[in-house]
């Protein structure tokens, strides 16, 4: 599903690499936490998967494709098989909940009939049935993140990438989001989540990958957040 071969990433005009010689593999259906202190390279790791950035060295494989060999015009098709969720939700404030989810399908050219069918289904799945016509501003943070997850999942991606999805949420809402991500993982979707949330990582006991200043320092199945933080 995901393979990093000796991947290093140095941003232009930076002398310290954001990622340094990282190699790892993630199998289909896994649930993986990506932890590490601020600036350790978690978001960089995720951006390489999305091909928003390219590695300075090494190769990134996603869904069996070497992203370094993927031509630019094929990148959108690759991204359709990934779902992405961020700390700041990234919803469109002038569209309703249902329209926000539908937008993701409209812009990849899905037919209207299919959109009308799957949008209520996925909103039901994330627990937002009955709130289709609310505006994002009328929702709690947890609910907004559910909309974002619905949008990321509506296309049934093979891989869900979440960059600190609970970063802006209180513990109660965070637990709700984690339950949702766990449910999504149980449908067979691989979930890769970068987080600072110790309680969640310790509770879920999933595979934990830890980065420190760009180096891979720990890869532990059924791991915990860590001791030194």
């Amino acid at each position: 599903m995901i393979r990093f071969d000796n991947v290093s990433k140095t941003y232009p005009k930076q002398n310290r690499p954001a990622l340094m010689d990282v190699s790892l593999e993630i199998e289909k259906g896994e649930f993986v936490f990506l932890v590490g202190s601020s600036g350790s390279g978690k978001s960089t790791f995720l951006r390489l998967l999305l091909r928003e950035e390219r590695p300075s060295q090494g190769a990134v494989h996603v869904l069996g494709k070497d992203l370094g060999r993927l031509s630019n015009w094929k990148v959108p098709h690759m991204r359709r098989q990934l779902g992405t969720v961020f700390q700041d939700f990234r919803l469109l404030p002038n569209k309703t909940v249902a329209q926000n989810v539908a937008f993701a399908l409209e812009v990849i050219g899905k037919p209207k009939a299919a959109i009308n069918k799957v949008v209520p289904e996925v909103l039901d799945l994330v627990g937002l049935a009955g709130k289709e016509d609310r505006m994002p501003g009328e929702l709690s943070g947890g609910e907004q993140q559910r909309v974002a997850i619905a949008r990321a999942f509506v296309n049934r991606p093979m891989l869900l990438i979440a960059d600190e999805p609970t970063g802006n949420l209180d513990p109660q809402n965070s637990v709700g989001i984690m339950k949702l991500l766990d449910r999504i993982n149980r449908t067979g979707t691989t979930v890769l989540m970068a987080t600072h949330d110790q309680a969640i990582v310790d509770q879920m006991r999933k595979r934990v990958i830890e980065l420190d200043k760009g180096h891979l320092v720990r890869d532990q199945s059924r791991g915990v957040y860590g001791y030194q933080h």
């Binding site: 999305l50 091909r51 990148v75 959108p76 990234r90 469109l92 409209e106 812009v107 990849i108 050219g109």
Partner: protein, 302 residues
């Protein structure tokens, strides 16, 4: 591509920065109107060339009574019958000559009155004051010099005149107008292009949230860029419509106001304008779309 989705996106985008849209529409309209005008002036010149070059010939003026002092070749006074016959025979011998017509003083006076209906001299100038002439039609109108060098200064020939020279002044003026229109148009096109680039930039910036999400969920470049390109092209279409309106109004002006006053010129009209309009639409929309496309390449990377 869902047309309805694209149309609503265009509408939102254009209304979002209405002032910029208006600036683009107006500048595109002016550029295209000038482009259209200079194309039409060229059509006009060509139509006049075709019309007049056919009619206008080399005139070999023969000596009049009063020319004796002024022209050395007329020292013998008015042209004699013998000279006239000789000149005509010599003209017909030249291979470049297609046809020779004789115009006597009365005909010359009649034509002169037709061309100058309001000239106060009409009463004063009698038929006697105008020279008789041979109107020579050439196989190739450029071969004027052959006639000039063969006949200028011959006894009985007052002067040889290439009537196209008179028209060339007029055409020179029209060509000058066309060049000016073209120059102003080039400036306007630059202004229009800068405005389009800027509008697209502002539009891309104000919609960066949408485009960010579009890229994230895997919208193709075509889908991401389409609304902006369509927006620019649509504004250009409005500009082209406005330019077409201006040309049609100009056409009405020429035919209702100018034509009655300048009767000796046949002005081109609606068919020519209608032929230019689709061209303006295509050029305007194409220009805007290409400008938008190249702007976006810089601002919306994959």
């Amino acid at each position: 591509m869902r047309a309805q989705f694209v149309m609503s996106e265009i509408g939102v985008g254009l209304r979002r920065n209405l002032t910029m849209t208006i600036a683009v529409v107006v500048s595109v309209a002016l550029s295209l109107a000038l482009a259209g005008a200079s194309l039409l002036v060229r059509d006009q010149v060509n139509s006049m060339k075709g019309f007049w070059y056919d009619k206008v010939q080399v005139a070999v003026y023969l000596c009049n009574k009063s020319d004796a002092k002024q022209y050395a070749s007329c020292s013998g006074g008015a042209v004699t019958d013998q000279q006239r016959t000789q000149i005509k025979a010599d003209l017909l011998k030249l291979p470049v000559v297609a046809d020779v017509q004789y115009e006597n003083k009365q005909d010359a006076y009649k034509h002169w009155k037709e061309m100058n209906p309001d000239n106060p001299l009409t009463g004063v100038v009698g038929a006697d004051g105008l020279p008789e002439s041979f109107r020579v039609k050439l196989k190739d109108p450029q071969q004027y010099d052959v006639i000039a060098s063969a006949f200028a200064g011959k006894p009985g020939v007052q002067s040889v005149e290439d009537q196209r020279k008179i028209l060339d002044n007029l055409f020179g003026l029209l060509n000058g107008l066309q060049t000016v229109a073209f120059g102003v148009m080039s400036l306007m096109v630059c202004v229009a292009l800068l405005l389009i680039v800027n509008t697209v930039r502002v539009s891309a910036f104000s919609r960066r949230r949408e485009t960010g999400i579009m890229r994230l969920v895997g919208a193709s470049n075509f889908y991401v860029q389409m609304p902006f390109i369509a927006e620019a092209a649509f504004a250009a279409l409005l500009g082209a419509a406005l330019a077409s309106g201006l040309l049609l109004v100009g056409n009405l002006f020429v035919h209702n106001w100018l034509q009655p006053r300048v009767q000796f010129i046949h002005f081109i009209g609606l068919p020519e304008v209608m032929r230019v309009i689709p061209l303006l639409v295509v050029i305007g929309m194409g220009m805007a779309a290409v400008a938008a496309f190249f702007t976006l390449r810089k601002y919306l990377k994959v």
